[in-house]
């Protein structure tokens, strides 16, 4: 049955209302801890990364700027090289400017595609020959260029780089003027070439890096010479407003740097990371630009990475917490629902929790409990079959119950009575026991003084010597007074040492120790008491002697096993000790002279370290076949 019922209750794990904070608190704690940790480390890492990236980006740009400047300079130098080559012709070296120069100039056009036209002028600046790709130049005689800067520089032996000008106000050109040397030192004229700068555009356009990183060239006047977007050049876009242009061409020594990187705005106002390099020879500024976002894209990536990691960490935490909570909440829910089922009457519900942990144990116990409840319930059901039978059973039960009750009453009465008798009996022992002893016995559970038992005890017999003569020779009242006084003194001392008084027999008193209450040091107590009694007697004796009472006390003391118990008959009960040991003690006391405490050898061997003794030799005692070696206690070695 239970296996069927096992599948009955569903164990869905729905969160209802109520006190269900586990998931939330656990999740929040984990989330904040993990999230905070990851965020902090991510931010710190990113902060340091930021400065690294900025440096990297700047370095990269400066590298590119330098390399671009180098390439452009090289481009111009190549043209210069071709020009120089053209001036080194056999004819020129031999005889200076000659018709051969025509061929040489055409050769230049052939060699150097950027050169659109070129001319050679003599040492006076008169143009000798002028060639062009696109036109014919009719040379006006005496047309001289000697006033131009170009001529004046070149004729001195230096290359002159002209300013950039725009043909059709659109296309950028420049002139390069070099000296024509017949041989070294002999300058016979100048060669000027007009360079179509659109041939630089491919070079400049090819400088691309990062995403959107590009280069362009600007003159001192803000004219754009080259740009990946050639329309800007042909449109005559002027860039003199740009920060980089102003800085790059400034004559302020502080702002002049070979290369410099800064964050600035470009022509469209967008934020860019920009570097520039000046080509001093040409007075051109090479500017490198990269959109901020591209330059620092690593940062964005790092940030995205950090956020990704954070999200991942959060997700993992969530998953972990949810899984953990499921392990806890699910069984709890199962138990809760099961308990609910059981409490609402479905006793056949059994839990099916196989988590292998404490929950399984608990649910097993739940099952046991439910089974037990169910059994009893089933039994109950059995008994609750039909109303009449129920009535019958009730009647029978009632009868039985009543009878039981009567019996119970009877037995209770008996019990009470016996208990009362018991109590009376017990109370009587107070007569012969020290009050505290009898109290202790009454209080304790396992001491029944009415039961005879064998025990090791120390028995002390106190004999009043000369009592018989005394009682003969004195008035009874006097005897009684003395006895009373004697008994009071002795009694007080017995009480002091918690001895058990067996009987007063006129002149003899028997006291024993270690019964009915156990006394571990019963022998020591007995000895101490005896010594104390003799001392007391010794103190009283002078009085007695004054009154001419010839009384003395002799004590006999023995330790060993005896049979003890309450003996006698109703009205005359006594707590007695029977056996060799009490007998011996009695005999020894008989032998004892006044002031003596006589013990046997066996007893002595037990306490020899406590007492000073005087051997009395062997005594033949009535009731003992062998002579007993006896000793007298003179004093205690130390106080008990």
């Amino acid at each position: 049955m239970s296996s069927q019922q096992k599948t009955r209750a569903s164990s869905s794990l729905t969160l209802g209302k109520g006190k269900r904070h586990l998931v939330r608190s656990y999740f929040l704690v984990s989330f904040f801890l993990v999230g905070f940790g990851i965020l902090t480390s991510g931010l710190i890492g990113t902060y340091y990364h930021l400065s690294d990236i900025q440096e990297q980006a700047s370095h990269l740009q400066q590298e590119i700027a330098s390399s671009a400047a180098y390439k452009i300079e090289k481009f111009i130098e190549d043209i210069e090289g071709s020009m120089k080559a053209v001036t080194l012709s056999r004819e020129i070296i031999a005889s200076g400017l000659s018709p051969d120069i025509d061929f040489q100039l055409n050769k230049l056009l052939k060699l150097s595609a950027p050169v659109s036209e070129a001319f050679a002028a003599d040492a006076n600046g008169v143009i000798y020959k002028h060639v062009s790709r696109v036109r014919t130049i009719a040379l006006k005689s005496k047309q001289s260029i000697s006033s131009t800067n170009a001529f004046q520089k070149a004729i001195k032996g230096e290359t002159f780089y002209g300013n950039v000008f725009f043909v059709q106000d659109s296309e950028p050109y420049m002139t390069i003027t070099i000296p024509i040397e017949r041989y070294v030192g002999e300058i016979i004229g100048v060669l000027q070439a007009q360079v179509n700068l659109r041939f630089i555009w491919d070079l400049v356009s090819s400088i691309q890096f990062g995403g959107g990183g590009h280069a362009y060239i600007v003159t001192r006047y803000g004219d754009l010479i080259a740009h990946p977007s050639i329309s800007l050049v042909l449109k005559r876009q002027n860039l003199s407003v740009l920060d980089q242009v102003q800085k790059g061409f400034s004559d302020n020594p502080q702002t002049i740097k070979k290369t410099s990187t800064s964050v600035t705005a470009n022509l469209h106002g967008a934020k860019v990371l920009s570097s520039f390099t000046l080509i001093p020879k040409l007075d051109w500024l090479v500017i490198i630009e990269q959109p901020m976002r591209e330059a620092y894209h690593n940062i964005f990536e790092a940030l995205l990475r950090t956020s990704g990691l954070l999200l991942f960490g959060v997700a993992m935490t969530l998953v972990a917490s949810l899984l953990m909570i499921r392990r806890v909440l699910k069984p709890l829910e199962v138990l809760r629902q099961g308990a609910e089922s059981i409490s609402s009457g479905d006793l056949s519900y059994r839990f099916d929790v196989n988590t292998g942990d404490e929950f399984e144990i608990v649910s097993e116990e739940f099952n046991n409990m439910a089974a037990a409840i169910q059994d009893s319930h089933v039994n109950l059901e059995d008994k609750v079959e039909r109303p009449e039978r129920l009535q019958n059973r009730t009647r029978i039960l009632n009868k039985e119950a009543r009878k039981d009750l009567e019996d119970l009453n009877h037995s209770l009465e008996d019990k009470v009575q016996s208990q009362v008798q018991e109590l009376e009996r017990i109370n009587r022992i107070k007569h012969f026991l020290a009050p505290q002893v009898s109290e202790a016995i009454l209080k304790s559970d396992n001491i029944n003084p009415f039961q005879t038992h064998r025990k090791e005890v120390t028995v002390v017999f106190i004999d009043l010597r000369g009592f018989t003569d005394f009682s003969d020779s004195h008035e009874p009242e006097e005897v009684m007074n003395v006895l009373r006084e004697y008994h009071e003194e002795i009694g007080a001392l017995i009480d002091k040492y918690q001895g058990t008084l067996e009987h007063f027999a006129g002149d003899g008193i028997m006291v024993f120790f270690n019964d009915p209450l156990p006394q571990e040091d019963h022998l020591e107590l007995a000895v101490s008491m005896s010594v104390d009694i003799q001392r007391r007697v010794a103190a009283i004796r002078p009085e007695w002697q004054k009154k001419e009472y010839n009384l003395d006390v002799g004590i006999g003391l023995t330790t060993g096993f005896a049979t003890l118990g309450i003996i006698g008959f109703e009205g005359r009960l006594e707590y007695g000790a029977i056996g060799n040991v009490p007998n011996l003690a009695a005999r020894l006391s008989g032998e004892a002279k006044g002031g003596q405490i006589v013990i046997d050898k066996k007893t002595y061997s037990r306490i020899d370290q406590l007492i000073e003794v005087q051997p009395l030799g062997d005594l033949s005692l009535k009731g003992f076949s062998r002579p007993i070696s006896a000793l007298n206690i003179k004093s205690l070695k130390k106080l008990v």
Partner: protein, 331 residues
């Protein structure tokens, strides 16, 4: 529990998707198919190679025929009066840009330029009123231009003089119907005078007119022959070349296409390269650039092509300077 799981999974997936998008930088615009109209005075065949080059130029901007761009061709086959109507047709087809090859086509396209961006290939665009200036064309027209008239003419005449030092009368094949030719003729006449040469204008509006030109040549006997660019001359190049060779007439035509047919020399920019650059203009305009922001460019490289076989046939020794400058030589 499951609800929380679900909602958190949803949020996580959403976030991951957003991250992925930002990583991948998805930003591809919707691919619509653009339409480019091409209008020319001559025949389709004459323009075929150049149109192919135009399409190549457009591919650099990501426009591939059949994928995201289609072409509409309107050729007048020599019937100039059809051109305005053809331009209108293209406009009504809602083309995204019109490419006008040659001066007549450019003029016709100008009429519809306020509705459609126009890219032209012509000479003297400023003087023929197509653009305001090279740097800032203004309006809705831009494109490539052959050399502005006068300067280039002088170079061509110079080359002729180098080949035929004794030349004094130069025959010029031109098309009176083409506005830029009218300007060029004026320019070359001035230039020639400065160079000590005289010009013999040889009108030809259609291919048939070329025969008439030949007759003028045989009667006036010029020392050399050059042309202004027109498709009718390209179409009749064999005819012209044969005639020139037969009559021992040195010739200098405007592009290399003539040389194989037998023309002695050509000097000028390579039209195929120019059309490739036109493709860049079209590409830029399709991507949203305005024609007024696209400056008009001039060619920077010029091919000098020689036919040495023809040289022999017409008894011309090509001077070394010419040989040196030659970009290509056909034997």
């Amino acid at each position: 529990m499951k609800d929380i799981f679900k909602s958190i999974s949803r949020i996580s997936i959403l976030t991951i998707c957003l991250l992925a998008i930002s990583f991948l930088k998805i930003g591809v615009p919707a691919e619509e198919v653009r339409l480019v109209g091409i209008i020319g005075k001559g025949s389709e065949k004459a323009l075929a190679a150049r149109v192919e080059s135009l399409k190549q130029g457009m591919m650099q901007y990501g426009y591939i025929e059949g994928e995201n761009v289609n072409f509409e061709y309107r050729f007048a086959d020599g019937n100039y009066e059809l051109l305005p109507g053809l331009a209108d047709e293209l406009k009504n087809l809602d083309v995204d840009v019109i490419v006008a090859a040659g001066c007549p086509a450019a003029e016709a396209a100008k009429a519809v330029a306020n509705s459609v961006p126009v890219v032209v290939y012509t000479t003297n665009p400023v003087l023929t009123g197509l653009i305001k200036s090279f740097a800032h064309p203004g309006g809705n027209i831009t494109g490539m231009t052959l050399m502005t008239g006068s300067e280039f003419h002088s170079k061509r005449l110079e080359l002729l003089k180098l080949i035929t030092p004794s030349a004094s009368l130069i025959g010029v094949l031109w098309n009176p119907k083409i506005k830029s030719h009218q300007l060029s003729l004026k320019e070359i006449t001035n230039t020639a005078t400065n160079m000590g040469l005289s010009i013999l204008p040889l009108e030809a509006e259609t291919q048939d007119d070329i025969d008439r030109a030949f007759r003028t040549i045989s009667s006036e006997k010029p020392d050399a022959l050059i042309n202004f660019g027109d498709t009718i001359f390209t179409a009749s190049r064999k005819q012209i070349a044969d005639y020139a060779i037969a009559n021992q007439l040195p010739t200098n035509f405007n592009h290399a296409g003539f040389i194989k047919a037998g023309i002695l020399m050509s000097y000028g920019p390579d039209p195929v390269i120019l059309f490739n650059r036109l493709g860049s203009y079209v590409g830029k305009i399709l991507q949203g650039a305005k024609p007024e922001d696209l400056p008009v460019e001039r060619p920077s490289e010029f091919d000098l092509v020689l036919n040495l076989e023809t040289a022999e046939k017409v008894n011309i020794t090509v001077p070394p300077e010419i040989l040196l400058q030659a970009t290509k030589i056909i034997k």
